[in-house]
Symmetry: D2
Subunit: 372 residues, 4 copies
């Protein structure tokens, strides 16, 4: 037995052959705390080695350790209490509930349970204490130590938006928000959008997106009446959602009768979160301000902070709402698998996953302690 | 001498080798009123046959009649009183003034003179009577009949925006407008944007664009204090600007306590303009409402009305300003060469170009009459 | 009843909601000989109006006459003897046979029957007399007049290749051919290739393509032993297959000890076919030679001859086989629906479809006569 | 003074603001042997900090150490004997000669001197001993120790081709080669190809490319009469040239009367080069064989071996020449800056750069020794 691996927390990835599932596998390959114990897939995939079941579309090579794993069905009894869900919208809801009933801690990237009142919807740098919501969940299990739970990662666009809004919200207050998104193809998964629909084209519609963004943003910021308009477009970009944001702040920073752009830039750049300090997937700075006049761009900026930071630029006055800027988020890293991974790290560090995860929690405490 | 051509109005195209210049040449090849008498170009191009001077990038073949024309320098003395300007921003201003001084009627697609107080900035279906502004121009010339003038075509995005706003403005009144554009590569001309900057990428900045759109829109609609925010993005699309628009109307159409989407759709679709009736380049309906759930899309909708109509879709409530919708305009047809051509047709039909254009004016009157 | 339509030949389109099916509908909308009498689709589509069953992806608007037609199942009993098949590979074979058994004349774009010994595989300008093969088909039916038949259109790349090879084959003889294709996304239909697989990427594999091209080329040219190597790539282009071709000719045209490029260019450009003279869909010249130094390009040249001509360029010496050049074919027009339409026109003009098509045949004769 | 940096070899990058220059800066930022002592640029750039002079287009952030360097003119007297040239074709020739005359060791990515008889053209894994050619160069300088020299890196496509051919050449002998390239946009530099020319398009022509590939391949393999046909296409891909290769081998590996594909795959995969063992930029395996049925693809495979390995796939029989396969090379890493860097490492490790480079040579020896 590999002594190194024995000190890591075993995890499973649900729906491992899809686009987000592949990202999970790729990120977990070298994770300091977690190691893959199981990969699940559809009936068609189950029983086959992962390397054969998956049509690998990542730029990194398929990790050898994952390649040989036999894909198993998505069902209770997985050899890991902590499971990451990359399941598709249609099936995620009941499957995740069943796994939580069976005692699994499900960190989900799917949308099914995000708006459930007792399910935390968390961006670790923004609302880390929302994880406590799982205490009100009523899945089966004798005591807290063996009880299952569901924690959710927001929609990819919501994550970028909320991370960009949070520093402004904390410092200046938020009245109204208008956002137009230019979303990458990877957000639709595989097969996702046909190339015929996206070559030399833009599709100004993404099913459900314009409803999810305001609903999730309100829940995360704890502002149930925040006015927020979202317009979503699909553009021919591989990875990286661009967000054109206008906001009305409660108190507008001004200098010499004009918008104090520099102060806004500093507000973004100096934003930090104690909650994620020392977590392996946390970027040094959650929000990076680009100095480029043309602003943040998918191909050039999506990998800032190893794909976990949001890049902001083109901060300027808005004649209608007051402030405008552009934000960019890597939709399959920070906006999906990477975000869920950071959420799991947060949960482990918080020790809220119960005693039978004590070994990893102790590990986490040690790591966090050494960095903190 | 070709008797057919003798009945057409001779025109010149300034800057004929560039992207917009090529569109003018392409559109004029089969124009029922106009025929190309001269094509001008830079020093490098002058003296060479057009077919050699140009790097033809249009999907239609280079019209044979234009192919053999010798490119001449852009200077007074062209064998056509009516000239179309596709000159670049840097040089258009003084060259167009010089030509107007020499008695030419310049219909310009360049930005240099658009905001001059005595220069009409016209979208024929929207503010056709603004052409009368040329009477206050003070170029050399003994009398109105031989005097030069400058008329201008707005920026490509402005045209799409103004055409989409006009029906709402007329029927419901306009308070505030927020627009985010997803603009095609052709808008930057040739060479324009490097492919390295636009493959797998979006550039959320277009120099000058966010200032031009509100300034021009205010001038065209005659609303100098209209609040308008524009955010401009360049996307990897060949032709067709997509506009994500939010508006606050003075009187919001409502039905059963919700936004009356159907009434808005009818307002768009029933919009007509008497001023352009019978003009060769005018589309049957200036604004087309798509029934497609995904809304208007560049590759699928840019050619509606032979590229001269604006397509509107996804009309829905906006939680911030009240109404949202998406509009699409073909930026090098309606938004550039085609728009300027329609403007010239309007001017001819109005007979305001003076007596020495009487022959064409009579022709125009005849044609318009027969259709009217 | 519309007297005009009564003089047209009724046709049906099988698989009308797919990519090629849409092209058929678009091309037939204004066809001078044919008119759509029925559109067929899958179980899911049957019973719904075409406008609702289809996800229209063409740049032309959906023709109003087709929009209202109710989609019917693909089965014998259609109200048109002549049917165009745009069925997918999996189901085309048996369905087309069943229709032919029931007396329908099937002009198919599918691959299922192309290599059947008694099924003609025809490019009208290249091997028009191969249509006679249908006389050896043994479908049910009392006499030739009421008997069904199957005629096939080759693979999209094969069509471009064969049209480019034919003039050389006739004049100089053909020994060996090597072709590398750069194929457009539309060739894979809808949904076809995921955009994730084709943005910032090339896929050097198209299932079955490298086998079809040589087999079909040999059958069409009647050269069963021709050495032909085909390598197929999918590239991020909407329409238009680019073919990089090297050939060894039996007699190499030389001048001053070098390849006689001019003579080759003339051989291409002067190629004509008597068989298609006057047919509505036939281009004036089947092969066009571009003067552009950069050679034929999908976006700039695919629409030559209304998408029915092949464009050739960059003719030059090949150090390995002798001659190299680049050819371009519009894969969904000439290479699919347009090619099948021309084949149907040829069949009608040849009068070989039997007596009960006499009215249309007479019409065709009249039209052809008036043009010939 | 930084003791760490004092043990590194100072280098300069000529033409540091261009596309390849940026790659050099990016790669050198963390190089274990080299450190940037100077960056040169055009007159327009000289005197400005690199961060202002450059329009940074790399996905990695601009390295802080380089950002603050003042760009200097490209002229003798640079504070580094070893210089990397990313100069453009037009000016590289005389400038590189002048620098060599002044005692600089120039490792060039430009094409100007590649075919000079006394200039080595080297792919380190393929012809490492060709570096000895510099002994016949006759630049000024008292003795070998202070004499300048020019070493060159081949064209990006040549590198990929030669690396893929070398294992076959060594084992089976090479008679004839036919290659069709699908080249990425980055190969044309910045601004390079206009996006209008490459969106929804392919350009089947790259100036000079079809002549460079055979000439350079012959020189590198030392086969002056090798028959080689190259056809070059530009495709809408950011990085990664795809090569469709057909070869005729002297002795064709066969098994059971068919091409022995497995033996060919092993020949590729087992290819190693002693000369590059332990060099920092050398990939573990120069040629990687992909197991993917669809073959190597730019977006998925360009980064194999940190962008320094060539990926090969789709090995199969060719009806014309015998063997076909597809190869992929990262054109701006292995095919440009990375390749030149590896060449410089090779030269240092060979100790052929003279005594006054002794310190680095010793360093290199140490490093190589420790790994060897």
């Amino acid at each position: 037995m590999d002594p190194r691996s024995s000190s890591k927390i075993p995890v499973a990835v649900l729906g491992a052959t899809g686009s987000v599932g592949q990202r999970f596998v790729s990120l977990l390959a070298e994770h300091p705390w977690f190691e893959i114990a199981a990969l699940t897939g559809s009936e068609r995939s189950a029983g086959r080695p992962y390397s054969e079941a998956v049509r690998w579309m990542q730029e990194d090579p398929l990790p050898p350790a994952a390649a040989g794993l036999e894909v198993v069905p998505t069902a209770p009894g997985l050899p890991a209490r902590l499971v990451f869900s990359a399941l598709g919208g249609g099936i995620a809801g009941p499957l995740e509930s069943a796994l939580a009933e069976a005692g699994h801690i499900v960190v989900s990237n799917a949308g099914s349970h995000r708006m459930d009142p007792d399910v935390p919807l968390v961006v670790p740098e923004v609302n880390p204490d929302h994880t406590a919501l799982i205490r009100s969940q009523r899945f089966a299990g004798g005591d807290a130590a063996s009880r299952g739970a569901i924690l959710t990662n927001p929609n990819c666009s919501t994550i970028g938006l909320v991370m960009a809004l949070k520093p402004l919200f904390d410092r200046f207050g938020l009245e109204r928000v208008s956002v137009v998104t230019l979303q990458a193809a990877s957000g639709a998964g595989i097969p996702g959008v046909p190339s015929m629909a996206l070559l030399d084209n833009v599709v100004p519609f993404i099913p459900g997106e314009e409803e999810k963004i305001p609903a999730e943003t309100r829940k995360i910021l704890g502002q149930p009446t925040l006015q927020l308009s979202a317009q979503a477009n699909r553009v021919p970009v591989i990875d990286g959602h661009t967000l054109c944001i206008s906001v009305e702040l409660t108190s507008m920073p001004r200098k010499d009768d004009r918008l104090d752009v520099e102060r806004l830039a500093k507000t973004f750049a100096s934003f930090r979160s104690e909650a994620v300090r020392g977590l392996p997937s946390a970027p040094v700075a959650p929000v990076v301000v680009t100095g480029r006049r043309e602003g943040p761009q998918p191909r050039l900026d999506r990998n800032r902070g190893r794909g976990m930071a949001v890049t902001v630029g083109r901060i300027r006055e808005c004649p209608v709402l007051g402030v405008r800027f552009v934000a960019l988020v890597h939709n399959t890293l920070r906006g999906a698998a990477g975000g869920a991974l950071l959420l799991a790290e947060l949960a482990v560090a918080q020790g809220i996953l119960g005693e039978d995860l004590s070994r990893p929690a102790a590990l986490a405490a040690r790591v966090v302690g050494s960095l903190g």
